[in-house]
């Protein structure tokens, strides 16, 4: 038997406090890229009771993803948007999860992200990361943006930090460890970075948002 909206909401409010829970439930977030970073970020946000999460990817679940991404074996071959939608709805069926099954580029980014407040960059390709970040900073300067750079390998988890780069732009990661240098992506370290991004999103929602927003 699935609990009602009110039951889940009050359980969350009991953990987080009524004020924070109200802000979380009104927040509009987007996760761009649903791999090791994005699938974990989205799970964190939905577990925390964020009311709206737009999940964006064009790719399908592959067996090589299972080592660090939230998907299950029987989801191999599904679109990541559909597979993650199922997972998120099992965590909180009342969260508004919007699937956007496209490859983001500088032409479609402004429109797709127009109605979101907090944007998490979670791509793997460095040029796609830079394209999204530049496009959001140039075209959507009112958005909060949390990007990631450097989470590959078995280096110390403590090297992963989140720092504020500009007024509404934050960067998580160690800034250096590149997947192309042969170290690979390990679940634990990728999840540390994803959790940094999700945590910054939740902090910003707490600090910057008003309870009556939208």
């Amino acid at each position: 038997m699935i609990p009602t909206y009110e039951e889940i909401y009050s359980a969350l409010a009991e953990r987080h406090g009524a004020e924070l829970q109200k802000k979380l439930s009104l927040a509009r977030t987007a996760v761009c890229g649903l791999g090791g970073l994005g699938s974990n970020i989205a799970v964190c946000l939905v577990r925390a009771g964020v009311g709206h999460v737009r999940i964006i990817d064009f790719d399908r679940v592959d067996i090589s993803n299972i080592n660090r991404q939230q998907y299950f074996l029987e989801q191999i071959g599904q679109y990541k948007t559909d597979a993650l939608y199922e997972i998120l709805k099992r965590i909180n069926p009342y969260c508004e999860v919007v699937r956007t099954n496209v490859r983001l580029n500088e032409k479609n980014i402004p429109e797709i992200l127009a109605s979101e407040d907090v944007i998490c960059e979670a791509f793997d390709d460095p040029e796609s990361k830079a394209e999204l970040v530049n496009c959001v900073l140039e075209r959507l300067p009112e958005k909060y943006l949390i990007a990631a750079s450097g989470m590959a390998g078995l280096f110390s988890a403590n090297a992963i930090k989140t720092r504020k780069i500009a007024k509404r732009f934050y960067l998580s990661g160690d800034g250096e460890s590149d997947v192309s240098e042969g170290t690979g992506l390990v679940s634990s370290r990728v999840m540390v970075c994803a959790a940094h991004q999700a945590h910054k999103a939740i902090q910003l929602i707490n600090e910057e948002f008003q309870e009556e927003q939208k």
């Binding site: 990007a147 989470m151 590959a152 990661g173 800034g175 192309s180």
Partner: protein
């Protein structure tokens, strides 16, 4: 002197494009802030730094 990623460098008069090249950054893999304002990618060649400026070059590496 220009502050670039926290380090003082004698770079006054150089364009952002020249700075990126001199410091070994790929322009396709960075975002650049000049005095906490984003520098549009299309303006890297026409944006020049002067003494007292602060430049933040964010470099993206692969993995996610």
């Amino acid at each position: 002197m220009v502050r670039i990623n926290g380090e003082m460098i004698d770079a006054s008069g150089k364009s952002i494009a020249q700075l990126l090249e001199a410091l070994g950054y790929s322009p396709q893999r960075v975002a650049v802030e000049l005095n906490v304002e984003i520098v549009p990618k299309a303006s890297y060649s026409e944006t020049f730094v002067k003494d007292g400026d602060s430049v933040e070059i964010v470099r993206f590496v692969g993995g996610g």
